[in-house]
């Protein structure tokens, strides 16, 4: 799932790299970047990735890393505590150029997301700056191809780094990458690198292969080579009729030289300034030929080192070339929050070429430092160890010696940030962060999620069952019961963002608890389910859940299926049909493959699973749950509904294959529905929501109402009076809340479950019959509860009388000032379709007669009371009063009542 925000002004989808990449279910994160904001990564981004096992490696430019580490004062060495301990930082191989590619790969158990673009691993690069990225997701043709190219490219880089620890992690990464499932489709976006061929050459070749003539060349980049030679070269090779340059006043180039080059290019040149005029770090080149166009975007600036040279001689760069329509090409140059203003050539003259000062290279290159068992440190440096050198950690130091072919300190050195020093403490080398092999190993292998990795009721043996897997998945990814939630990730302790004013009712204990809940890495998953724009198909977490429950490897393109289906039921039904076909194939072919695991009925698993689901159902109304997200209970409910739907299919396929039985599912479904939708008396969780609010409705899972209808029908279809009465208020509340949608897909789904064709109209009719079922006893009991009366009995007289219905009630002291009386009268009229009715208090002794067009006649309790009459009751007056929780005394002359 890709997270985009829509900017109204530009109409273009935007990407939020922080949200997209840094999720709690990521198991591997690899990045290449020119520079890295270590504090941002350690203190914030790393915490969003959740708990080990987590394979993180970041390759950054050696000089930039060295400059950053060199600036860290001894007082702030704690900044590096997690580097090379929980994650691996290495310098990328750059030859004579810079290591400049910006790519980010986040791998979850079910997919990989690759972002290639212009932004460094910093706040400006990933969040606040003007940057451009192209996103690729595994399971799509472009995605699989891009990830494959990236994998090959990074493998070559890893080889060049020549570091066994990095190589070991890369091997682990490869094992986690999803296998490509999509065939390569030519003519789509491709990732390009410059290890073998300059990017400009690849761009020109791609364009010229399609068209000999180029109409427009459009460019923007923050950095050019001094004289604009890379751009001039492109113009010469593509011979465009027009050249368009987007820039800011911070664009780095010798303006005089660039203007001269452009004027002599022969092309019609236009120059535009981005407004607001602020630093724009995106690097984009567009070419248009007739109705075709191409966009080259990524890390490469408009410099020779980036564009016209190969890595080693020039920079290491990574870009994406994307075929696009001419309008898309033009749109790619317009930041959503910016306008453009045309400049003259004269304006170009003010541009200056900014040189990046290279610091003096240290005389010694410290290449690696690794902690060994006794706290000493092994180092590798160039040149090799010389007499008098020592290793310092900004606080203490230890002499270096050669021992068993290794250069190591003579004693332990506690600090993590080290440098080689001369005997008098003068720094001789760059700084480096010491590798902590134990920590790095633990980060890859230890799973230490606090609060338990499975629901407490389940045993390890249960986890191999489909139900057990589903419950574990739900437990690991969602907070089903806040009492199980645990304080979470790194870097977010103490008083949190939601400090409430002391004047509010939000007391300190609540806030502390809220913070702890917010730090639970599972809390991040709610955004994934709730943040997906409508129409993007079944959400990724639901797919992951179904994957966890499946007992065979997926054989179809799940992402494609999900993207074309916004119905969980349809997805499930198609899966079931696919499984059926596969079963047939298995039987036909009688292969020697490993036998398919069958679900086993297991009473103990059944009991434990029921207990888990009941406990979770009861936990959904815990008010703390909405601290995660005010729709969090809806997310939990929809995921459980999906689980139930999957289990119904299993039961239908073979009751012996499922640990839960149909009666369990019906029983448990009621346990979930009742507190969620309530009974229509404002007692359901949904009652806290304003479902008329489009913002709320838009965030709820799209097909939830359809799933609810199907599951509810399966539960009430063989109705007896008790079941009907129990379900009636629940279904009625669901209907009122638009959470009951008996669609065609719902009918197809239940047909699959019951092995018989069920029409949509029948599903609808059965549900409505359940909702509408009524008899006098039921009506009285329900009305009594609704109005909190002590007793209510209804006597129906013969028709034709002005007052044909008598109500006997207990629990109302004064009918004229009790708002329940108008409501009772109106309810009775509606139920019995009558008008006149008499109400008798069996405990207080008063009587009241109401008939439209007549005054209300009221006889208070006690001897000697006189009959009091109100004004004439007009048509609809009592209904309006009841709707407003009014009281009958409003109808009486106040003086008379007083």
């Amino acid at each position: 799932m890709t997270t985009y925000s829509q900017d109204d002004s530009a109409g273009a989808a935007r990407i939020q790299p922080v949200t997209e990449l840094f999720r709690s279910n990521v198991v591997a994160f690899w990045a290449t970047t020119y520079n890295i904001d270590l504090a941002l990564f350690n203190e914030f981004l790393l915490g969003r990735l959740g708990e080990p096992p987590l394979n993180i490696a970041i390759l950054a430019d050696a000089d930039r890393v060295a400059a950053t580490l060199a600036r860290i004062p001894s007082e702030k060495v704690d900044q590096v505590a997690l580097i090379n301990s929980r994650w691996l930082l290495r310098s990328g191989p750059s030859g004579n150029g810079r290591f400049h590619p910006k790519s980010y790969l986040a791998v979850t158990p079910t997919k990989a997301t690759l972002l290639v673009g212009s932004g460094n691993l910093s706040a400006s690069g990933l969040d606040e700056g003007r940057e451009v990225f192209t996103a690729f997701v595994s399971g799509t043709p472009d995605g699989d191809d891009a990830i494959d190219v990236w994998r090959t490219w990074i493998r070559r880089l890893v080889q060049r780094v020549d570091d066994t620890r990095l190589a070991e992690r890369f091997a682990e990464l490869e094992s986690r990458l999803p296998k490509p499932v999509s065939p390569r489709i030519t003519g789509t976006a491709r990732v390009l690198h410059n290890l073998d061929e300059a990017l400009a050459d690849q761009l020109v070749a791609t364009v010229m292969a399609e068209s000999a003539r180029v109409d427009d060349l459009i460019v923007t980049a923050p950095f050019f080579d001094r004289n604009g030679i890379a751009l001039t070269s492109l113009i010469e090779r593509l011979s465009p009729q027009r050249v368009t340059l987007y820039m800011t006043t911070a664009t780095s180039v010798d303006g005089v030289q660039l203007a001269t080059a452009l004027q002599t290019s022969g092309a019609d040149v236009k120059v535009w300034l981005y407004e607001p005029d602020r630093f724009t770090h995106a690097k984009v080149i567009g070419a248009i030929a007739g109705s075709r166009g191409w966009i080259l975007s990524g890390s490469a600036n408009l410099s020779r080192a980036a564009l016209t040279m190969t890595a080693g001689t020039g920079n290491v760069e990574l870009s994406v070339i994307t075929p696009a329509s001419p309008s898309d090409v033009w749109a790619a140059f317009l930041p959503p929050d910016a306008a453009t203003r045309e400049l003259s050539f004269a304006d170009l003259l003010t541009l200056e070429y900014a040189t990046e000062a290279d610091g003096d290279a240290p005389s010694v290159r410290l290449l690696s430092a690794v902690a060994i068992a006794d706290g000493r440190i092994d180092v590798v440096c160039e040149p090799t160890l010389q007499a008098g050198w020592r290793l310092g950690d900004l606080a203490t130091h230890s002499a270096l010696v050669v021992e068993r072919n290794a250069t190591r300190t003579v004693g332990p050195l506690p600090g993590r940030l080290v440098q080689i020093e001369s005997g008098d403490g003068t720094p001789l080398s760059n700084r480096i962060v010491v590798d902590d092999p134990k920590g790095l190993d633990a980060a890859l292998r230890v799973r230490a999620r606090t609060g338990g990795d499975q629901p407490i009721e389940l045993h390890s043996g249960d986890l191999d069952t489909a139900v057990g897997k589903a419950l574990v998945y739900l437990h690991r990814n969602l907070i089903m019961d806040v009492t199980e939630a645990a304080p979470g990730g790194a870097g977010s302790g103490g008083v949190g963002a939601d400090e409430s004013d002391s004047v509010t009712d939000d007391d300190l204990w609540e806030r502390l608890e809220r913070e702890q809940l917010g730090r639970d890495p599972r809390a991040n998953n709610y955004g994934r389910l709730l943040g997906q724009p409508a129409g993007l198909g079944v959400s990724e977490p639901i797919l992951e859940l179904l994957e966890a429950m499946r007992d065979r490897a997926p054989t179809q393109d799940r992402s494609a299926l999900a993207s074309t289906s916004d119905s969980v039921l349809r997805l499930l039904r198609l899966q079931a049909e696919e499984d059926d076909d596969a079963d047939d194939d298995d039987e036909d072919q009688d292969t020697a493959d490993a036998p398919r695991r069958r679900w086993k009925p297991e009473t103990r698993v059944r009991v434990r699973a029921r207990n888990v689901l009941r406990r979770w159902a009861a936990a959904q109304n815990d008010p703390r749950l909405i601290w995660i997200d005010h729709l969090a209970p809806a997310v939990n409910f929809s995921m459980v509904a999906t689980t139930f739907a999957r289990l119904w299919l299993a039961v239908a396929d073979d009751p012996d294959r499922c640990e839960l039985r149909a009666t369990d599912l019906a029983d448990l479904w009621f346990a979930w529905m009742r507190p969620f939708v309530g009974s229509g008396r404002g007692d359901g969780w949904l009652d806290q929501l304003d479902l008329k609010d489009d913002a709320v409705r838009g965030r709820l899972p799209a097909s939830l109402a359809e799933t609810v209808a199907a599951l509810s029908w399966l539960t009430v279809r063989r109705r007896d009076r008790d079941t009907t009465i129990a379900w009636q208020p629940v279904l009625s509340a669901a209907l009122d809340r638009a959470l009951l949608e008996p669609t065609e897909e719902a009918a197809r789904f239940v047909s699959h479950v019951v092995h018989a064709r069920v029409e949509r109209s029948r599903v609808e009719e059965d549900l409505l019959q359940c909702i509408e079922f009524i008899d006098d006893d039921l009506w009285c009991e329900r009305t009594r509860l609704e109005l909190a009366l002590d007793a209510l009995r209804l006597d129906v007289g013969s028709t034709g009388q002005a007052v044909s219905v008598r109500l006997h009630i207990r629990g109302v002291n004064n009918p004229l000032t009790d708002p329940r009386l108008p409501q009772l009268i109106v309810a009775t009229r509606r139920y019995r379709r009558c008008d006149g009715l008499a109400t008798f208090s069996d405990d207080e002794g008063w009587r009241l007669v109401v008939t439209t067009g007549q005054p209300v006649a009221y006889l208070a309790a006690g001897h000697g009371q006189e009959l009091v009459e109100s004004a004439v009751v007009e048509q609809g007056a009592l209904e309006a009063m009841a709707a407003a929780s009014g009281i009958l005394s409003d109808l009486f002359a106040r003086a008379a009542v007083a």
């Binding site: 925000s5 935007r14 898309d328 002391s502 000032t817």
Partner: protein
């Protein structure tokens, strides 16, 4: 547009100003206030709302209205609206301001009676939810929704079974039960005539409590009484873990429970009202009087007076370091803009050391001990009209707020330290030892300052010490904890300190219940206005003082 077109990025981090960038407000708000005045919020200011809301909850249960929170919320908000109309129609012309007055007043100006029904506060449970629910729960009058009744949580707020709860609800009912409003209009949805509201206001208004002894005593009992056989729980504060630099737990244990502490704090307030009547209306007088309160007459008063004076001292420290913060941020932003890049650690240190330039200008190479000695002798090298030693502590605090410079903050700190050295007592000692999760206690700050002074540190050294320990380290930690809300005023990026210019400026002190003290105690008849509008402790208040302090 296809999925693989390049896209511009959008921010995930939301820029926010951040209300407590150094984690100092929280020491007052979340650590000290719950200890010093448990159960009383800053805007829980009118005692009669305690009885009014208790009465409403009782009526709701008596009338057996729907037991769900949404219905209760609607019920309360409607009744609060009607009560607000009545208060603003009060024939005694008391000028009381009801909850939701901002909505009710315009309506009454623009509309002729009868007035429509409505709601004056949007949030759940209206003014009850915002200001009175939590206190009533803490006083043991209300059991909040979710409280377990056997195995089942109750679904709506209800009164506890305590006699105090029953008494307070009955007392308010007794006050209003003869009104036409209660008898005929209470649940009606019809517009409310002016005479009905006037009649209701005449007995129900906020101002009437001192004139209704039975109800007043019931409210008094709610705040200061306990239920038979129920031991008062100590005021609750969250533990900060195994840390010797915090004395909050000791305070909670030694104070004898929340009710005892509340009684002592209110009684102490009455002593300062008697000493300086302006404290009922003037925040500065209130602060100064808490610092310079009369000589205690009992151990209990000595303890609580020490608590409150420590709170005042902590706030002077907060404003002193806020001055350092404020100028450091301004200077840092200016310096980085001129450099075109962030500051290295050494440049940052240099910047902080240069903050001695003032105003007032202090020689950066002078030893801090020498400057402190000059201050003590009222012999400062500042402008002739600037004599910190002659200022009251509150004047000193306000001076550094207005001056808004690091040097003024340093002077305020040194002068605070000098005066604090003359303080002693168990309450003072304990309360100056309370810290927050982010900042050390005042006692630790002073210890650090003394150690520096003894080591011969210069003014520049101390400015850097203040900046490094209480500004630089703390702000980054707090701001990181608040991500994805971006509240950084500065942060280290690639080894350079980058400053941000959004929302930069001072941060305010947390409220210390001045209005709550003043209005609640007046409503309870503990003090009253004399003919000149001055405040005088009433006989009832004197009796209360006797009862608490002996």
């Amino acid at each position: 547009m296809t999925e693989t077109l390049p896209r511009w990025i959008a921010a995930s981090l939301e820029i926010k100003e951040g209300r407590d960038p150094l984690g100092l407000q929280t020491t007052t708000q979340d650590r000290l206030m719950p200890l010093l005045l448990p159960g009383v919020l800053e805007l829980s200011v009118r005692a009669r709302y305690l009885s009014f809301h208790t009465f409403l909850l009782d009526e709701y249960r008596r009338r057996r209205l729907a037991p769900d929170s949404r219905s209760l919320s609607t019920f309360i908000k409607h009744r609060e609206w009607e009560y607000g109309l009545a208060v603003l129609s009060c024939p005694h012309e008391c000028g009381s301001v009801p909850v939701g007055a901002d909505r009710i007043r315009p309506l009454m100006r623009q509309t002729n009676p009868p007035y429509p029904r409505g709601e004056s506060v949007e949030s759940p449970f209206g003014g009850y939810g915002l200001y009175y629910r939590s206190p009533l729960a803490e006083f043991g009058i209300v059991a909040r929704a979710g409280t377990m009744l056997g195995d089942t949580p109750i679904t709506v707020d209800v009164l506890t079974t305590s006699e105090r709860a029953r008494r307070i609800a009955d007392a308010f009912r007794a006050s209003v039960e003869e009104t036409d409003y209660y008898q005929h209009w209470f649940l009606s949805v019809e517009p409310l005539p002016a005479d009905v509201l006037r009649d209701y206001g005449a007995v129900g208004c906020l101002c009437r409590l001192p004139h209704l002894p039975e109800e007043r005593d019931a409210v008094h009992d709610a705040l200061f009484g306990t239920d038979a056989a129920v031991e008062s729980a100590p005021a609750g504060v969250p533990a900060l873990g195994d840390d010797i630099d915090d004395t909050s737990e000791a305070i909670a244990v030694e104070q004898g429970g929340a009710v005892v502490q509340r009684r002592r704090s209110f009684a102490h307030y009455l002593t300062i009202v008697a000493h300086e009547p302006a404290v009922v209306d003037n925040g500065s007088s209130f602060r100064e009087a808490l610092w310079s309160s009369p000589t205690p007459v009992s151990d209990g008063q000595d303890l609580v007076a020490g608590h409150w004076s420590a709170l005042i001292a902590k706030d002077v420290w907060q404003d002193a370091i806020c001055s350092v913060w404020s100028e450091f941020c301004r200077a840092g932003l200016s310096r980085t803009r001129s450099l075109g890049r962030g500051l290295t650690w050494l440049e940052t240190q240099e910047l902080a050391r240069e903050l001695a330039a003032g105003p007032p200008r202090i020689a950066s190479d002078a030893t801090i001990a020498a400057v402190a000695a000059q201050l003590a002798m009222d012999n400062t090298p500042f402008a002739a009209d600037l004599r910190p030693a002659r200022m009251t502590l509150e004047e000193l605090r306000r001076w550094t707020v207005v001056t808004d410079s690091a040097a003024s903050g340093l002077v305020a700190l040194l002068e605070l330290d000098r005066r604090a050295s003359e303080r002693s007592g168990h309450g003072w000692t304990l309360a100056t030892g309370v810290r927050s999760a982010w900042q050390p206690s005042l006692r630790s700050v002073r210890d650090g300052l003394h150690a520096l002074s003894e080591s011969g540190a210069t003014v520049a050294d101390v400015l850097w010490w203040l900046t490094e320990n209480f500004v630089l380290r703390t702000h980054e930690r707090i701001a990181y904890s608040k991500l994805p809300e971006f509240t950084f005023r500065f942060r280290w990026e690639e080894g350079l300190l980058r400053f941000f210019d959004h929302g930069m400026g001072r941060f305010p002190l947390a409220a210390i219940r001045m209005r709550a003290f003043s209005l609640l105690s007046q409503d309870l008849g503990l003090w009253e206005r004399d003919p000149d509008e001055g405040a005088v402790v009433s006989p009832h208040g004197t009796a209360f003082l006797e009862e608490v302090f002996g």
